[in-house]
Symmetry: C2
Subunit: 296 residues, 2 copies
Amino acid sequence: MSEHLTRGVNCATLTPMDERGAACIDLLVVHCRWLIDAGCEGIVLLGTTGEANSFTVAERKAILDGTIEGGIPPQQLIVGTGCTAIGDTVELTKHARSRGVTRCLILPPFYYKNVSDAGVVAAYARAIDAVADPALRVYLYQIPQLTGVSLGPAVVAALRRAYPGTVAGIKDSSGDVAAITELCARFGAEIDVLAGSERYLLAALRAGASGCVTATANANAAQICTLYRKRDDADADALQAAVSVVRAAFEGYPMIAALKAFTARRTGDERWRNVLPPLVPLDGAKAAELLASVSQ
Amino acid sequence: MSEHLTRGVNCATLTPMDERGAACIDLLVVHCRWLIDAGCEGIVLLGTTGEANSFTVAERKAILDGTIEGGIPPQQLIVGTGCTAIGDTVELTKHARSRGVTRCLILPPFYYKNVSDAGVVAAYARAIDAVADPALRVYLYQIPQLTGVSLGPAVVAALRRAYPGTVAGIKDSSGDVAAITELCARFGAEIDVLAGSERYLLAALRAGASGCVTATANANAAQICTLYRKRDDADADALQAAVSVVRAAFEGYPMIAALKAFTARRTGDERWRNVLPPLVPLDGAKAAELLASVSQ
């Protein structure tokens, strides 16, 4: 049985980079500190928001190394290590463990579509078996709108049965409140169910979720953390509504480019606007429109 | 301007592997020779059918090296080198060029969805610029049902304009005959338009396509090559119909596992049944049903 390791608001951090796409570790460390200071309980490094799959394995290792060397405690990190090739997933997960990271957020292999539950379970099993580290805690990463692979309750149950000490949670970014409610009902007592957006944080917490992993915390960490802290207060629903307005503003734009445009403005560092193809930076007019809408 | 380098029937070869997922180069080389002897003009190594994205960069390099060392001429290969990380695409493409391979079939980055045409063009441009090799010939890989990214005529036109000597073709696996007909009309005189299935090979050839890249040639190479050779004969439509019946039989099953089950039976080597997760081998009953249907 696993403990509940992950609670509260976890930010899926952006990865700043220069115009050639090389990660700017200096900016990343400062940003992670800012997120922790704003109240985030943890940082998801190299998730979808962090453009993880646009970096090579060597680059991903260097980003983690630099973040830890910059002073961000590995205990506060959840590291995305899931790739299309299980060999890469294993290498990145072992590397994270070697740096003191316990929690890895692992995508299922995402090139093939219409794969069977048995195939998805086999992929996770092969990775966990190859890492072979009892201290590893795996968070399943449900984001079918990008992977084309859905981790239904049958997959979670099979992996929990096979690896009860290792499979410690699931991040559900499907955006489906009914699905996360079902996950909480079936697994919430045993593992960390994490909402993939703060838009339904309160609903998820009331259903038994442990917290959330969210992209928008890159721009709105303090307000989201306040919502989490005041989740049992009388004004919680009003706070949720306010948080959701900001979320909706960002959802009107390509999210990663929009959050980077926001962060460039907040920090005054234009490097923050860079993204790796196939993403493109938010153009000037759209950035101005977004910044006006969220600063009201 | 590019020459028409690729014609006829090109097989997207399976990648045989042991039960741990390590590629069996010995089997692969024998299989490639069998395909060439059956009349295939070329072999696509490490495409979708070859489970390319389930292998690490190092494994992909070793598979190409072993295939060439086994005697398959690099001039007869088209190598899949497209990854989610442009850095990996660059590394694999440079490696293929270093081994004498001219033609690379390059997926767009396929993790993010709803990306812009400008982002897709930027991704290819960054890869081509980084490889910086005038002898490279890039085949764009249109397979939106797996990538979630569609390479429309505007993307092809933009890349042709920017890299007229390098962008030499497109493989269209969308299965949309209207789309390939449009590609042929707009680009067929300049670049190789390759049908992604022999199911519409004759229609594509009549529209101006140069040939096809097909998975089913792993099982049915000789018949498909006969169709190509007799494309102008009176019985071409009857041959197309016969070829399409075999294609349809395989399309009733998970294609890669089905082709591997067929090849295991044909060669008597059970290693051929292995696939990498998230794929699963065809179970015994389904394999027997398939084998009965295609041996009638």
